[in-house]
């Protein structure tokens, strides 16, 4: 990678207090600006933990995470909120927010603690809802939505946050085929606007359709990383999932099949 890396994980070690075995060990990874990186790995490989570390929510026991060469820990929360957006896999929502009220929360990093969102914030939130195709439902209760629609609302909230680095945790896990396609287009458009994207997924096709770079994670370590074409191979995916996988080329798009 030629340019200055945007995000660096250096010799990371992290474990949760309850478990003896560390979730991540000797973890090293660099993300270049403007790239779309997909993280593939079996369940429990440490993918979500990695995103939470990048966010600054979890602190590593050893090693360092840098954002534009500065340690993540040296940023203020507000600055991190403007830098990084997180789309969690799913989220417990206890109250009947309207979609607009909920997406508006994405503006929080830009507002002082006691301020209220203003007209400009409403407009940004509305445009974020338009981008995920839910503008028509903006006054509906979020609890009345299906799982897939809720996932789109979480994405809209992150869009309203206007981050430079977008972290997504299995963004397509609840989406139907149509919405999956729309999301891939939306994320490509964001990349075109200069947003760097890092996402985890259990769907190799989504990684193949969207990512420029691929990280294969296994047991808290990087198994292999590089450009998509170099890493998305039958050999490497077979090693990753420990199950015979073949890669098929369909009109220039790669699909992984287990055999």
């Amino acid at each position: 990678m030629s340019a200055t890396p945007l995000l660096q994980f250096e010799q990371l070690r992290f474990g949760y207090p309850q478990t003896a075995r560390p979730v991540l060990q000797d973890f090293h990874l660099e993300i270049a600006p403007g790239t779309v990186t997909a993280i593939l790995g079996p369940n429990g490989a440490g993918k979500t933990t990695l995103l939470h570390l990048a966010l600054g929510w979890l602190q590593p026991q050893a090693g360092l995470i840098r954002l534009e060469r500065q340690p993540v820990a040296s940023y203020s929360r507000r600055a991190l909120g403007q830098w990084l957006g997180l789309v969690p896999q799913s989220e417990h929502i206890a109250f009947e927010y309207s979609l607009l009220e909920f997406v508006l929360l994405g503006r929080a990093p830009y507002l002082p603690s006691l301020a209220m969102p203003e007209k400009a914030d409403y407009e940004i939130a509305q445009s974020a809802l338009e981008q995920v195709g839910l503008a028509a439902l903006q006054h509906r209760s979020i609890l009345s939505l299906s799982g897939g629609e809720r996932q789109l609302v979480l994405i809209a909230r992150a869009l309203a946050q206007q981050p430079r680095l977008l972290l997504l945790d299995e963004p397509t896990s609840h989406l139907d085929l149509g919405n999956k396609g729309r999301l891939v287009h939306l994320l490509r458009e964001l990349q075109g606007r200069g947003v760097t994207i890092l996402f985890t997924t259990h769907e190799p096709e989504v990684a193949a359709a969207l990512a420029t770079h691929l990280v294969l994670m296994q047991k808290g370590q990087v198994l292999k990383t590089g450009l998509l074409a170099e890493v998305f191979t039958a050999h490497d995916l077979t090693r990753l999932y420990q199950l015979p996988v073949s890669v098929v080329d369909l009109d220039g798009r790669k699909v992984a099949l287990w055999t």
């Binding site: 309850q18 939470h52 966010l55 600054g56 929510w57 929360r77 507000r78 991190l80 909120g81 403007q82 990084l84 957006g85 997180l86 969690p88 989220e91 417990h92 929502i93 206890a94 109250f95 009947e96 927010y97 309207s98 009220e101 929360l105 994405g106 929080a108 990093p109 507002l111 603690s113 006691l114 301020a115 209220m116 969102p117 209760s141 609890l143 946050q161």
Partner: protein
Amino acid sequence: MWLTVLLVVVFGISVFLGRYPTPGFMSLERLTTDEMARSLVFNLRLPRLLTAVLLGMSLAAAGAVFQMIFGNPLVEPGFLGVSQGASFGAAFSIIFLSTSAWAVQVSAALFAFLGLGLSYLLARRVRYGGWVLRLVLAGIAVSALFSSGVGVLKYIADPLSQLPEITFWLLGSLTSLTWPQFWAILPAVVVGLLVAFQMRWRINLLSLNDETAFSLGAAPGRERTLLLVAAVIATSAVISVAGMVSWVGLIIPHIARRLFGADARYVLPASMLIGAIFAVLCDDLARALFPGEIPLGILTSLIGAAIFMVLMMRPQAAVER
């Protein structure tokens, strides 16, 4: 907002409602001519009604805050050992220290904070679960501890002098409330409510998962603690003069959400106003319905529980968990 107008109207009517000279309303003319009536209105009714406003505002606002920051619509201020701590403090003072109003109030407020502090410390030492779950578990344990303590105190209390006093306090009432008491709790209530009110939009962030709130630039632990302390300052102040008035904190935020949606920007101020109206109306009933007063806590529980049942049976009341 129309709720403010409603509160003013209810308050205005309540000033004239009572049992002097006859059950029902007092005429304006009597207020201007009858010395006794004027003294009654200005020295007894006004401080009492104003305290009812503070009481309803504090309990309802604290309920809304607790529900939001714990991401759980079934939580109320009595939750982290606060109410049980206050009861224990009051009973303790009645038996061992002094039955004077001041001693009981200070002791109740101190033990309310002790309840919160114990719950907090215990939650930090619980070995599993997220922060909210740990606080809930700790709160349940601490509440149980204090309520068994209250049981012990009731058992050893003098059944003729002390026990009735404890029981009366536990039922909650604004009887014989005076200006000094009102002024004494006003600063704490204003500070507590002002902090919550200023943070009303931000409270929404704290109703989200910890990592999400963090990713949106919030400090979930620190900001929740600040709001919690603000809510408990206001509640322990009103509990200290009024005793245990239950159900207001649970019910009122539900009604506010039904009217204005989930956004705390509207739910919090609406809860304060509806809480105040509810408390004033209940206190009206408490003092005007019968010659002898009905303890306020009994009325709020009775009416609150009835409203809760109606709310539960309405189709939109579905709570997701």
